[in-house]
Each structure stands twice: as structure tokens, then as C-alpha cells.
């Protein structure tokens, strides 16, 4: 009863002194692909499902007439989800191994929840796309890969599941992996790792498969534990959006004036010549205060306070950049967007645009095209449907915006953090649209009828999986 009921066998995710790294990843796939089973096995085999949680799931499963515990009930946290037996919203799960801490964004796979997958992918450093070995690459697979490419998730894992039902045959796996890799690479996915698994039997999820000796690569968990989590910030432009100006004006700190923020990209060093955008004024980094300790350098995504040599007029919404890497500022924004709200986005709409710590007014000047992520445009990118007039919920499209004030906007391909923005309804504050500056995919010309083509699988019907 009230004891802490410790596990005599010892925990899997032991304390590490706080030096393990953090990996944020997302899973995409439908229940039919075995996503819940995969997630359940990762959590269970890393001992992240505790006795009282499992007991609650078993109890709830029995009351729904199921014999085996339904692990989806672990993550389907809302009453409506349990009643309807579907995942509606992104669920975040946490587990740890001695090497790493994981934040898993478990996203629903169905087309009508594309916005939720976009949400989960926006902060993910890795995405796991599941396919059923018996079905191979289907439209949904293509859509999931396209979302990962659109959101610039650096690492994609293709988990070919249910290998036990495909006779554990290498040829089945190889064909699926080849097809997926070809179109995902064409979409611009930089790194793809294909792994043959059986989530149900446990093959290659946490422990290597005893049956598929032809596969010499890592298990899913091994890959999650060892994949590099960050790109090298030393090679990135320095971007420091100012959140807050710290001016104590106390006897101890009469003249302290620090700019508080989180490095969005790059490595900032004391002595660096910097430019403040959008004003263009210049100064030099005098000191960096790393949450109470002076530092010579700070890098993304550290939260720090920056002090400059000169007294400039800087406030929330300004961006400090190194002068050598300063971006152009602009009031004309071209972007790929995912529309999130049930009210459509229309040409002429007046909205607020939130970019880093800066919120400005904006007008939607044009919506040149809508993209069908599950359809190929013939050149590797998704099919484009010109002049759709508006974008509805879950639609992906191109937009042209004009802002009231200049923005220091990077291409999303250069920086996820400073190339992204939200469109917000000024009337009630609703989040309408997620935006990614610049071109998301390799350039594709629209077909003659605006609906040009089928994917490599050639299994689409006429209207495909339009968002």
C-alpha cells in the first residue's frame, strides 16, 4: 500500500547527474500501423509505465470489454478521446534511458488532424513514420514524410512494422525502404533511417531481432539514443530576439541594463560586433550573463542576458544579430503555411503576425497555391493547385503577406526558430495559421489542370489526400 513500492530489479532510467541530453521526437502513423503498440513498447520496455498507470489502463480496458490492456489509453487523456476511441490532440510522453531523456509528441495520423502533426513536428528533432509491411508506402505515409520535410525535422526514421506478418523477409523491407527514401529525399528530408520492426513481438524496438539477422543496423531505441541532437551552432548565424529589458535601478545595480532572451541560433561571444534590428544600430557585446554567472560565450538554445557597450534604444521585439551575419529586414513575406483554424484564411484578411518576440500587423496579399502533400507534383515536390482563393483547416499553401513594420525574418530552411511565425486573429486572439518563411520544397510548376499527377506509388484517386 503506501510504501513507495520500489522495484527490486532496479530502474532502467537511472539518474545521470543531470548530464544526459534531451531528444524531442514525434511519431506519426495510424493505430492500424501499430503506433500505439510501438509507443507502448518504448514506454514499457524503458520502464516508464508505472504500476498504477498500468493498473488504471487495465481497469479501463476491461470496462470497455477488452481483454488485453489498450496502451492507447495511456496517452488518450481526454474524455472525448476515450469515449470515441481516437486520438484527437497531441499527447506528450516522457521517458528516459541512462543515456538520454525523451519528450515524445504522439500525434494522430489521420488527415483531419494534420495540424496536430504539424504542431508535434514543429519542435521535433526526429520523426518516426510508421508503415505496415504488408501495405508498404501509402498516401498517408507520403503525407507524413511531407509534413516532416515541410517542418524541417532533421532526422526521419521509417519504421517498417509488422515484419512478423511479412515473413521477416528482407526483400519486403528493402523495397519499402527504397521507395520511401526516394520520395522523402526528393522532398528534402536530409537524413532517413529505415528499421524493420515488429512492435508486437518486440523485434528491433528495444532489443535486436533474433529473426532478422540480415539487418545489421540499430534498434529504434538505439537510434533514438545516439542520433545527434543538435546541428553545430558555431556554423549558424547569431540570432538573439530580445524578450525583456532588465533594469533593476537598485542601489546595487544602478546602471545595469541587460537584454534578456533565448539564443535562437548561433554562438554569441563577448566582443562580437552586433547589429540591432530592425533599427540597424550597432554596438559590441560587453558581457553575457548566463542566469547568474558571467560567460564568455552563449549558444542556442540558452537563455541568457546580453549587455552592450553602448546605450541603445532596444526593447522587446528587437533582434540582436552579429553584424557579419545580419539578415535583410523586410515587410514583404512569402511563406508556406499550414492553416490551423476552422475559419478559412482568405486574401485580404487583416491579421497579426507573431515572429520571435515581435508581433506586427499584416495583410494577406495573395494565396498563390494550395499544396497536396500526398500527391506528387512530378518533380519530387508536392502537387500545387493554383489560386485556391482561401485555405481551410489543415490546408497547406503558399501565401504572400505585407507587414506594417519590418521583420528580421530568415528563410525557414536556414532557421526553424527565426523563419517561423504565427498568424493571429486580432479580434479574439485566436491562433489561425502556422507560417514558414521562404520555399518549403523544391520548386514545382503547376500542371495544366492544377492537379498534376500521382505519387510514385501511383495509387491515388483523382482528388488524392487533399488537406
Amino acid at each position: 500500500m503506501s510504501s513507495t513500492d520500489t522495484d527490486p530489479a532496479g530502474p532502467a532510467g537511472l539518474p545521470d547527474g543531470g548530464d544526459a541530453t534531451l531528444l524531442r521526437f514525434a511519431t506519426a502513423g495510424s493505430v492500424d500501423d501499430g503506433k500505439s503498440t510501438l509507443v507502448g513498447r518504448l514506454l514499457h520496455d524503458s520502464k516508464s509505465v508505472l504500476a498504477d498507470q498500468l493498473e488504471a489502463v487495465e481497469h479501463a480496458s476491461r470496462s470497455r470489454g477488452k481483454e488485453a490492456p489498450d496502451l492507447a489509453l495511456l496517452t488518450d487523456g481526454l474524455r472525448a478521446e476515450r469515449e470515441q476511441g481516437i486520438t484527437i490532440d497531441v499527447a506528450y510522453r516522457y521517458f528516459a534511458t541512462p543515456r538520454r531523456r525523451f519528450i515524445l509528441a504522439d500525434t494522430p495520423g489521420h488527415v483531419q488532424y494534420t495540424r496536430n502533426m504539424v504542431t508535434g513536428a514543429s519542435t521535433a528533432e526526429l520523426a518516426v513514420v510508421l508503415v505496415d509491411a504488408r501495405n508498404g508506402v501509402v498516401e498517408q505515409t507520403r503525407r507524413h514524410a511531407a509534413v516532416a520535410a515541410l517542418l524541417r525535422v532533421p532526422h526521419v526514421v521509417l519504421a517498417v512494422n509488422k515484419m512478423d506478418l511479412a515473413g521477416y523477409q528482407e526483400s519486403v523491407f528493402a523495397a519499402i525502404a527504397e521507395e520511401f527514401t526516394a520520395f522523402a529525399a526528393a522532398l528534402g528530408v536530409p537524413e532517413i533511417t529505415a528499421i524493420p520492426i515488429s512492435a508486437l513481438a518486440g523485434d528491433n524496438v528495444v532489443t535486436p531481432s533474433a529473426t532478422m539477422d540480415w539487418y545489421g543496423g540499430p534498434t529504434v531505441l538505439e537510434h533514438l539514443e545516439t542520433v545527434p541532437v543538435t546541428t553545430d551552432p558555431a556554423g549558424e548565424p547569431v540570432r538573439f530576439p530580445v524578450q525583456y529589458v532588465i533594469r533593476p535601478q537598485t542601489a546595487d545595480h544602478p546602471d545595469y541594463r541587460g537584454y534578456a532572451g533565448q539564443l535562437a541560433s548561433g554562438v554569441l561571444r563577448v566582443g562580437d560586433p552586433v547589429t540591432v534590428l530592425p533599427s540597424g544600430r550597432t554596438s559590441t557585446v560587453a558581457a553575457i550573463d548566463a542566469l547568474g554567472e558571467p560567460a564568455e560565450a552563449a549558444w542556442a538554445p540558452q537563455s541568457v542576458t546580453v549587455l552592450l557597450d553602448d546605450d541603445l534604444d532596444i526593447s522587446r521585439g528587437d533582434m540582436i544579430v552579429t553584424t557579419a551575419t545580419a539578415p535583410d529586414v523586410t515587410r514583404d513575406v512569402e511563406a508556406t503555411v499550414c492553416h490551423l483554424h476552422d475559419r478559412p484564411l482568405t486574401v485580404g484578411a487583416r491579421v497579426l503576425l507573431k515572429h520571435t518576440t515581435r508581433t506586427v500587423k499584416a495583410i494577406v496579399k495573395d494565396i498563390p497555391s494550395r499544396l497536396s502533400l500526398a500527391e506528387s507534383g512530378g518533380d519530387g515536390g508536392p502537387a500545387r493547385h493554383p489560386a485556391p482563393g482561401e485555405l481551410g483547416a489543415n490546408d497547406i499553401g503558399r501565401v504572400v503577406l505585407r507587414t506594417s513594420e519590418p521583420l528580421a525574418l530568415d528563410p525557414y530552411a536556414v532557421s526553424r526558430r527565426t523563419g517561423s511565425f504565427l498568424l493571429i486573429d486580432p479580434a479574439d486572439g485566436t491562433t489561425l495559421t502556422a507560417g514558414m518563411s521562404g520555399d518549403a520544397f523544391p520548386d514545382a510548376a503547376p500542371g495544366p489542370d492544377g492537379n498534376n499527377g500521382n505519387g510514385p506509388g501511383g495509387e491515388h484517386d483523382g482528388d488524392g489526400w487533399d488537406f
Binding site: G77, P228, Q262, W299
Partner: protein, 326 residues
């Protein structure tokens, strides 16, 4: 070492050493440890609220999560003082040593502490005692009253997504309507690190800077930062009695009833809340290292081991949140 004694503004023992100091970590010279990454994220959230809201307040009970929140807020705005006040909803059945800690901490940092009292609402006839004696669900009315009276527009809570499955679905910035209610179907999508705090008059936003922390992260951070906690988080001798599979402490709140024998045990608290529904766990963990080892090996979740209120139903937390609970 038993209860650590350093103040909440002690300096970190890691970070800021530069690439050389970080080289041993997986992921290259500039990778952050998971605690540094979580700390940076939480500080960013505090500063976003500081920059965009008029009257934020931190829910501060003297429990470990709210103590960690305050510690992060102090770091976020140093060397300036925290630009927020503190709010505690006192059920009238709180642990006296925790209330003493609460008052001492607020005074030490020169912060204004608002106390919303469930007892006053009961005395005025606005709230009625429940048959089971539990006052946890009664906190919502005083909380919403304080938010309205003081016109708080952002309310920081220490809720974590790993605590409970309804919390796992809640945003970092969680909009509440003029009744304080949470509508899970109408949540704003939250992408990248872009938090949308816009709200209409009468609405407010609950903000959860520890959303992505686990219980173990909180304890590892407390150890790293040498943060002082109320002594009841560490193993001590206490008179307890058993009810619904939990060790409850006798007190003015009404326990024990007939047939509930009191015994002396060595226990500690994993969570700290209303005495009527917060259970102690058997423990010999007198130091923070021992507590961390104990949690890492535990086969029960924090709330499962210690909270009677969540055992009411499968959707108990979701239902309370819809009504305006934390």
C-alpha cells in the same frame, strides 16, 4: 546532509563553462544537458509572460514544484527582482511547516503574497464542506475570486504533463474563459517556441513553465541548484493512520475517524497539498540523493502514490480543470 540550506539564488554548478566543459556530453560541444535545456525553456516562458502581460502572478504553495518555479523566475529576471506577486489558495488544512516555509520564502525575496482562503469562503457560507471532508475541489472558487479581484491576467502553475493524462494534453499557455474554464477541444495549437498569450478582457491565461519536466527532473534540478525545501519532503518520524491505502497525518482537518488507528512511521511526502487527501510514503530517504534514488526506482507515479483526489474517476482531473482548477 538532510534538508539543504542554501537559498534559492545559489549559482548553478554546471553550464556556462563553454564548449570545453560540455564536450563529454552526447551531441557535440554545444549540446545542453537535459536540465540546462529544461531550465532555458522555463526561463524563456517566464520572460515571455513578463514581456506580454500586465499583472502576472505565481501560484505558490510552498510545494516543491512551486518552489522550483520561483527559483526559475528569480534567475530569469536577476539581478532585478521578480516582477510578479505570489498567490496561495489555502484550504485551511495545509501542513503548518509548509505554510511557515511559504511565508518565510516570500519575505526573503521581498515578494507580495496573496492568500485566498477556503476557510473564509466556508465561514461566509459561499462554500460548503464536502461529506468526505476533502477540501481540494473547493479551491477553485477562491482561486477564481482572487484572479478576478486582483485582475491577474497570467497565472503561473507548477503543473507538469507527466503528472496526469489530462495535463499531458494542456498547452504551456492555456487560455481560460471568463469563468476560468478550460475547454480541451478549443485549445490553441502551440508551435515552435511561439506562445500566444492574447486574451480578451475577463479572460486569463494559465502558464505552465514546468510542462516538460518530470518528477525526476524536478528533484535533479533541486539537487543541482541546492534549493531549500520544506523538511516534510525528507524522511522523518510522523504519526499517521491508514485510509484508502494512503498514510494520512492527523490534524485539525478531521482525521482520524473511529477505527483508524494512529501509528508512528518513518515517512516522507512526495507531493504536498491538502492534508486530508495528500498521503505520505514509507521512506528512509533523508537526503536529496536518497530521494532521487528512491524516485528513480519507484513503481508508482507521484499522484498515484499520494493523491486521493485523482482516484475519484478516470476523468477527475479533466473535470476539475474544466471548472477552473489549477
Amino acid at each position: 546532509m538532510t534538508v539543504t540550506s542554501a537559498t534559492t539564488v545559489t549559482s548553478p554548478t554546471t553550464t556556462t563553462g563553454g564548449p570545453a566543459g560540455a564536450a563529454r556530453r552526447t551531441g557535440g560541444p554545444f549540446a545542453l544537458s537535459h536540465l540546462d535545456a529544461l531550465e532555458s525553456e522555463a526561463v524563456h516562458i517566464f520572460r515571455e509572460v513578463g514581456g506580454e502581460f500586465e499583472r502576472p502572478v505565481i501560484l505558490f504553495s510552498g510545494g516543491k514544484d512551486s518552489i522550483v518555479m520561483l527559483h526559475l523566475a528569480l534567475k530569469a529576471f536577476a539581478p532585478a527582482p521578480v516582477p510578479f506577486s505570489l498567490l496561495h489558495v489555502d484550504t485551511g488544512h495545509n501542513f503548518p511547516e509548509v505554510l511557515e516555509f511559504r511565508d518565510r520564502t516570500a519575505a526573503r525575496h521581498g515578494l507580495r503574497l496573496h492568500v485566498a482562503s477556503v476557510q473564509e469562503f466556508i465561514d461566509a457560507g459561499t462554500l460548503r464542506e464536502r461529506p468526505d471532508g476533502t477540501r481540494n475541489p473547493l479551491q477553485t472558487v477562491p482561486l477564481l475570486d482572487a484572479i478576478e479581484t486582483h485582475r491577474f491576467d497570467a497565472v503561473f502553475g507548477g503543473g507538469r504533463r507527466d503528472e496526469e493524462k489530462a495535463r499531458a494534453k494542456e498547452r504551456v499557455f492555456s487560455l481560460r474563459d471568463e469563468f476560468g474554464g478550460w475547454d480541451p477541444r478549443r485549445q490553441r495549437p502551440e508551435l515552435w517556441q511561439l506562445y500566444n498569450g492574447r486574451h480578451s478582457p475577463g479572460e486569463h491565461v494559465r502558464v505552465f513553465p514546468l510542462s516538460n519536466w518530470t518528477e525526476l527532473d524536478v528533484w535533479q534540478y533541486i539537487a543541482r541548484e541546492r534549493i531549500e525545501l520544506p523538511a516534510i519532503y525528507y524522511a522523518h518520524e510522523r504519526e499517521v493512520f491508514s485510509r484508502n491505502g494512503m498514510w494520512l497525518a492527523p490534524g485539525e482537518w478531521g482525521g482520524p475517524k473511529e477505527g483508524e488507528p494512529v501509528e508512528r512511521r518513518r515517512v516522507r511526502y512526495r507531493t504536498v497539498g491538502d492534508m486530508s487527501c495528500t498521503g505520505a510514503v514509507d521512506s528512509g530517504a533523508g537526503t536529496i540523493e536518497a530521494v532521487i534514488a528512491e524516485i528513480a526506482a519507484s513503481r508508482l507515479t507521484e499522484r498515484g502514490a499520494t493523491r486521493a483526489d485523482d482516484k475519484l474517476s478516470e476523468a477527475a482531473m479533466e473535470d476539475r480543470k474544466r471548472e477552473g482548477y489549477f
